[in-house]
Amino acid sequence: MRAYVEGIGLLGPGLPGWAESRAILAGDSPYVATPAVLTASPLLPPAERRRSVPTVKLAMAVGAEALEQAGRDPATVATVFTSSSGDPDTLHQILETLATEERDISPTRFHNSVHNAPAGYWSIATRCREPSTSLSAHDESFQTGLLEAAAEVSADGWTVGLIAYDLPYPEPLNKVRPIAGIFGTALVLTPQPTDRCLARLDIDLSRRDEPVSRMAEVGLEALRTGNPTGRALPLLAALARVVAGGAPETVVLDLPPGSRLVVRVGAPC
């Protein structure tokens, strides 16, 4: 499957956006893991902005960055949202409330608990009625999201915003499901090259045992293994080098059991 990258969004510890992070990802600048800061999206109407939970803030921030870079009206772009789970704070609060006698869940908290809450807020903010799907595959959520987004580009000819995000849970869930840092990323993928294209991706499923791509830098490697969306980092690093004029690279992401997602990253033409 072939897709062209028109825009990239990124927000994580020490990675405050694509432009600011390119040199770090390419290995040309040192990495310092300062905590990521989440803010509510200015795209949202005020009532929704007040209600927006961390997953919504993160997903919308990286999605907006990628769409802006692509110069596309988000109302015209289909979306794939992917995350290992829903909003961690909302989930914690609901589970605590249900463990009490009253079980008095707030309606806002309940609608924020659905896995597709970021997709819902995104469509409200951008007036987008194009298809949107919200996926989960535990530690392989980013890989399966990339596969689905590429399939939409390839089979249906859609331009797709892939938006991936994962955040840590509070205790006690953190003990049973530790997630390192706040990390989100987004890619705008198109079926045809345009004059805004940054790179070309050729994506295949493989049953061979190519070694999975890793990050050379210790902190970034910890983010890659510690946060499901962090699995995107080798692809982002390859994009950073190729966009800067580097030679084509091949990135290998694991897709258990026994498969690999092999992504060849090259210049758009």
Binding site: A99, P107, V114, S123, R129, P131, A155, L173, V176, S259
Partner: protein
Amino acid sequence: MHPLSLSHMSIVSSLGAGQDATLDALRSGRGGLKPCSFETVTLDTHIGEVAGVDYIRLPPELAGYDCRNNRLAEMALHQDGFAEAVAAARERYGADRIGVFLGTSTSGILSAELAFRARDPQTGALPAAFSFATTHSTGSLADFVRCRLGLEGPAFVVSSACATTSKVFANAARMIATGLCDAAVVGGADSLCLTTLYGFHSLELVSPTPCRPFDAERSGVSLGEGAGFALLERTAPKPAPGTIHLLGAGESNDAHHMSTPHPEGLGARLAMERALASAGLRPEDIDYVNLHGTATTYGDAAEDQAITGLLGTRIPVSSTKGYTGHTLGAAGIVEAIISVLALRTGLIPGSPQTRTLDPALRSRYLQANENGRLDRVMTNSFGFGGSNSSLIFGWAA
């Protein structure tokens, strides 16, 4: 889209386990809704609980996946020869050539609800037996079913609220179209839990009586649980007589509100229009629509506007949620299978409990069963966050 063959399917709901039990209930008008006595829930409502879930045992090697949601899935895999049909397909195509695209909104959250109640009073720690990855995690359903069926193709869970197990048909169609798979298991499971019962109650959407879609005195949803699966394959050059095809799928967003549909049903209509376009059909080609029809005032009114605006007022439509309750993330697959059963048998199900049609609604809503030849049926699923999906099934041409 290129049609796909729907070669096998299985279903479990409060109507019973398997296609025969489901058809029997629809034919005789026997609904599955009963006063709620689920777990420790004290809400005044009716629910569609599946009998016998507590007694299901997963195979020993998969015991770590044990939770209500995966038990429901296990029950459905055993019905209608479904697991055997997938095993035969695995022989034909190879384990890595069959994808698993399933939906759930709750996954095994009941396990986490029970674990939070059993937290250590001193440390706040969760019980050691609680397994997040295999029970609570949203993706655990696809992981469990993939392992249970011995499949190694791409696998994920779609969790787009109540459109979820309808949307997976489109995911499968894309994966097969791109050549990543030769066949796919689609469907999913959603189980009763406190989060959805108390959550829908907080939104004041839960009815104290069995739900009455399209009734002038409707008062909200009855929640239910269910599971179902379908095996989708590329179409044969000369399909056997009686073969059912997935002809089209349409997806859209409302872009309106998190928990209320667009008042004129714009997103719903767009999903139906896209399903027709993807099937290359016109509105008059549809013989029956299984509505989303939750029995909320806003939801029914929006869908009625979308239906009458696009399909007119002559096509028979009905919601089967008066039988099964709203099975949330499983509604798409449960109602897709009911729609295919209608196609196969010519039984167009009427709607139990709906006595006096809301005069403001204009669709030709069926209160009693009808019989007749059907060529193409549509099924609608609309969810929180404005996520919409519409599917069209018909006989292989």
